[in-house]
Symmetry: C2
Subunit: 338 residues, 2 copies
DNA sequence: CGCCCATCCTACAACGTTGTAGACTCGCCT
DNA sequence: AGGCGAGTCTACAACGTTGTAGGATGGGCG
């Protein structure tokens, strides 16, 4: 059906290798020959068979991206950034959803299906630091996220502790002293929840405010529903607070909704800040203060170093850690006179 | 590096074709031989080279999905559903972002890069009905969305007219008579905006209410910002209305936010309904009434018929149109005594 | 004049897989 | 006994591409 090098070669009266050379911009070709080949190519509508090319070269030009779910806005926006970054580097992205499930994640690391790709950007949620050794795979892998640190691969992550500290400090700077936290994971030390909670505690410590465990609401997932439920629990518990730090924007928005239902005014009664800088927070009522974790920078760095590993130039460079710059974004939900 | 059939064959003391047969579950193999091969396979950690396989078979097991942007929640949730539907059928999904740009869209239809896939799910935004002939491509293609009707390919779409009519009828049933519309596209007949506006008009007609052009706010894109801007314009224009139909949830949420800023109570002053059933609308304040367009059904149907076309069993079946079932979902933003 | 080198092109093999054709062994039927 | 079909396995070619080795031509230089 589709034209091959052979067809073009026949039409142009040259060998297939010459056609291949034309396509690959080989230098030493007579202008006239080149022209003739080009004409044959466009006449036959030839375009190279990528499977064959990749069989020969060992490269597919495709990278895999494994995330929990695209319906979680954070990962949708991350995927968006990554696809754009990959496009700038001539790569395509194949997306795999793990559902945040550990078994599914481990599956992907060992699955042969992934061989249609040159490397993998991997953002686990179910795996924990003890699973780090599973990252020892024989294909290029760049780890994203906050579940595993010190693993055997390159790792790109946001500055969780620092930025959570800045978020908390921001609320403190508004005169708030009783800051609730929504989204903790019980017992977690490493992982977004653990790290961000640590940042929160550090900020309190700096301000000389004792940590009150009753102010922390724990959730399993970080969906809107969990934010809502957590906030209901906090309110029911009767604990007092004048601010809230949502471990991500989605949680914060879910919680904010419940706060308002309960008649609390934001930011006057409760000042709120989230984390992730989702587009959604720009149009909520009130607009949501947040941490911009530098998503584009994460995407760009991740794709760049994955490509470096794929090209093999860095063969024996030891695993590297990258932390991106963050920024506190003040919007209405925390806009109080300082 | 990686083991090949040859290595396995050598280790098991059989021909490579026998190994291939074992892998492909060929019937007539002695149990003992099979066992020996299996052992060699797991010992060497062999897994088939998909590029070679796809060169031989002409299939990659990957389908493409071209959408405007994943950061638009609707497309993120659509992609989520499609990836899941594809997984159920043993397919992987490669995602391409067009930015809703016509040139980029046309590019994809002619691009050789797509040859790493067996077929394409294509959701254009920039192309219009006059571009329909560009869909005449030599690879399996299933069209999604509302930009092009009657094109040369299979098409899966939601019931735009019917569901917009139902949405409008819902507001009418709440006693509302002046229903503003946010998200019109000037002059558009075909396309989500055109069709949904038509549904709106049909509902009015049925209720014997004259159509007032001043109630329609036009936008270019359907982002939150556009919903917000449109609503500001409507308010500034001084036109009176007691309800609003947002052509999608994102617009509705952006507009709702402005309405509330302006001191209007929802749903008492203005009843609101959107379109898409985004997760976000479940946790907004107030929660957003909407149309569930049957996203999972769209995804499932689209992947199914694409796979049918890929398998070629339907060689000469003419292009088919599929319309999914929709549902009106009433939430707080339109919850009035009837 | 003869040699060498650059230019331009070609033949062939190889990447790892699967389809095709066929070899060989049995047991069973005629 | 001979033939036939089913079961088991193998050799070979082919998918479309690119790397390698090398052939042919012509110009420059000793």
């Amino acid at each position: 059906m589709a034209a091959t090098l052979k067809d073009v070669a026949l039409a142009a009266g040259v060998s297939i290798k010459t056609v291949s050379n034309v396509i690959n911009d080989y230098e030493h070709i007579r202008a006239e020959t080149k022209q003739r080949v080009m004409e044959a190519i466009s006449e036959l509508g030839y375009s190279p068979n990528l499977s064959a090319r990749s069989l020969r070269s060992g490269r597919t030009g495709v990278i895999g991206l494994a995330v929990p779910e695209l319906s979680l806005s954070y990962f949708a926006e991350l995927a968006d950034s990554i696809i754009k970054a990959a496009e700038r580097r001539g790569l395509k992205v194949l997306i795999e959803q793990t559902g945040g499930d550990r078994d599914h994640e481990l599956d992907i690391l060992s699955s042969p299906r992934l061989q249609m790709t040159d490397g993998l950007l991997f953002s686990p949620l179910g795996m924990s630091n003890e699973d780090a050794h599973h990252l020892n795979v024989n294909f290029p892998l760049v780890l994203l996220g906050e579940r595993i640190f010190g693993g055997p691969t390159d790792h790109v992550t946001m500055s969780n502790v620092e930025s959570a500290r800045a978020a908390t400090a921001h609320l403190l700077s508004k005169g708030r002293r009783r800051i609730a936290v929504v989204g903790g994971h019980r017992g977690e030390v490493i992982g977004s929840a653990g790290l961000r909670l640590r940042g929160y505690q550090l900020a309190l410590e700096e301000a000389g405010i004792p940590f009150d465990p009753d102010l922390v609401a724990y959730t399993t997932l970080w969906h809107r529903a969990n934010g809502a439920t957590s906030m209901r629990e906090l309110l029911a518990s009767g604990v007092e607070f004048d601010a809230m730090f949502g471990m991500n924007d989605t949680l914060a928005l879910g919680a904010m909704r419940v706060l308002q239902e309960a008649g609390r005014t934001i930011p006057d009664d409760v000042a709120v800040i989230g984390f992730d800088d989702l587009d959604e927070g720009r149009y909520s009522l009130p607009t949501l203060s947040t941490i911009d974790p530098g998503r584009d920078e994460i995407a760009d760095t991740a794709v760049r170093i994955l490509q470096e590993r794929i090209s093999g130039r860095e063969g024996d460079v030891p695993p590297r850690e990258f932390e991106t710059r963050f920024q506190v974004i003040e919007r209405e939900s925390s806009a109080l006179r300082e």
